[in-house]
Symmetry: C2
Subunit: 150 residues, 2 copies
DNA sequence: ACTGATGTTGACAATCATTATCAATAGACC
DNA sequence: GGTCTATTGATAATGATTGTCAACATCAGT
């Protein structure tokens, strides 16, 4: 049988209280910081459960960490994520759904699923960044790798 | 200075000889199997280099592994990947590019980048699967998790 | 409220991918 | 060939995640 424990609730609430995506480790730290003695393994389990129930979305950060987020829509949707502050906006993408299905079909693929996420700098971070850029004029290119996203 | 070593060539060729995406570990095993004494660390380094040069694309598998692939187009493109056999088709997605840029703009985001990949079953695997489904009538739902892709 | 069966927890060990270390090696240019 | 130094590779180190298992807490029935 499925039991309700304060630990699971704690994880759910902590996740709700977070604007964007957060890693299991970070969420555990946050909970600890706010006085909860919850164990790391439990956080992982709770997040896994939430993700499989559809109550939370998960994605892989470019450095291989799993990130979770409590989403308002239980249905299908995508994300627009600020790569600086983590602010996340849920977006519908009917066009893209259709496109994915069509492209898959054109190549004989069935059971099409897709991963679609947009990363960028939110308005606030863009402003902050611009300020920073003006202050320092070092033209050093950023060394970030992560080829695929573009 | 940048030196040319047979190791880097070996990795490049092994990657070229692979249809779809492959993990660093798997590529290393493959190289070993074909008699190359190349070291694991070197495979990681070579793949990292290829990825940062744009000669290879990389993405995160749902279980947190980094997968690499030698792509014909050095420019920007996306992938249609068979989740069963790994067959990969490169696809252009101008519509999606435009969509991503527009959505980002609508929410005040700048520097929009995106991750767009379509997973499915290729024609061959679909056929094979259908055959298998007919043979066994166990209606057990698949237990796969991985919430987000849809 | 009491109790028993069992789902759940949490500390820790184990695993797995990836990165760092560093002495030995081998390209590139003379 | 000789020198300089980027590169290699065996191994240790790191970091995220999962497995283990005894102790515990929850829920249903009383």
């Amino acid at each position: 049988m499925k039991r309700n424990t304060w630990q699971r609730e704690a994880v759910r609430e902590a996740l709700d209280g977070t604007g964007g995506f957060i890693s299991a480790q970070a969420l555990h730290s946050a909970l600890h910081a706010s006085g909860s003695p919850i164990g790391l393994a439990t956080v992982y389990r709770a997040l896994g459960d939430l993700a499989s129930t559809g109550e939370a979305d998960s994605l892989q950060s470019p450095d291989g960490e799993a990130l979770y987020r409590a989403c308002s829509t239980t249905g299908h949707h995508h994300h627009l994520i600020c790569r600086n502050c983590g602010l996340t906006v849920e977006i519908a993408a009917d066009e893209v759904e259709a496109w994915a299905k069509r492209v898959a079909g054109e190549h004989g693929f069935t059971g099409a699923a897709h991963v679609v996420d947009v990363f960028g700098l939110c308005a606030d971070c863009t402003a902050a960044q611009r300020g920073a850029d003006e202050r320092r004029a070092d033209a050093t290119a950023n060394g970030s790798s992560s080829s695929h996203p573009a």
